[in-house]
Symmetry: C2
Subunit: 102 residues, 2 copies
């Protein structure tokens, strides 16, 4: 299969039983995910950058959480307004956005 | 924060709106995730190996899907019975289980 060059995981507090507890879905998690998907499409990166929603990472107080692999870069307190910067500097440019790292 | 040495993502078809469509939750996705969590605890790897459930990866026909980062190893048709082997050979031993790779 075609593996991603970078994989963006966005916490949407999606529990495996269908419940949404945790915090990130109350902190724009879903909107952040949608914005990443939109940005990946706009930049024509669909084949090399994947976006996936997740369940809770267990660090809710630092949410909304975004994790980028294989870089193993963890972002906290992410808002929809931060997505373009993460895309530009990190996903395309290769340099993580230090001010959002946890 | 304490970043994971390895991060196991298990598709449980958890959509951000709380719905479970996709396929993996019908293919033991939730039981696979629970088994990984149990194995990580039993092997006392909680601080270095994280387990997180995800929404659909878009390759449902190959489910149940398990992805291990930062290795970027993708497993398909995973069953609960495969979890111990993945833990033993890959997560602890460092060698992916070739027969399950997609």
């Amino acid at each position: 299969m075609n593996k991603p060059k970078r994989h963006i995981f966005v916490c949407t507090s999606s529990r495996p039983n269908g419940q949404q507890k945790g915090m990130c879905h109350t902190k724009e998690g879903v909107n952040i995910m949608m914005k990443f998907i939109e940005e990946v499409e706009d930049r024509d990166l669909g084949g090399e950058v994947f976006v996936t929603n997740t369940g809770c990472f267990g660090i809710c107080e630092k949410g909304a959480i975004v994790v980028v692999y294989p870089d193993n870069v963890w972002y906290g307190s992410v808002s929809v307004d931060d997505v373009e910067e993460i895309m530009e500097k990190h996903i395309e440019g290769g340099s993580p956005v230090a001010r959002l790292e946890i």
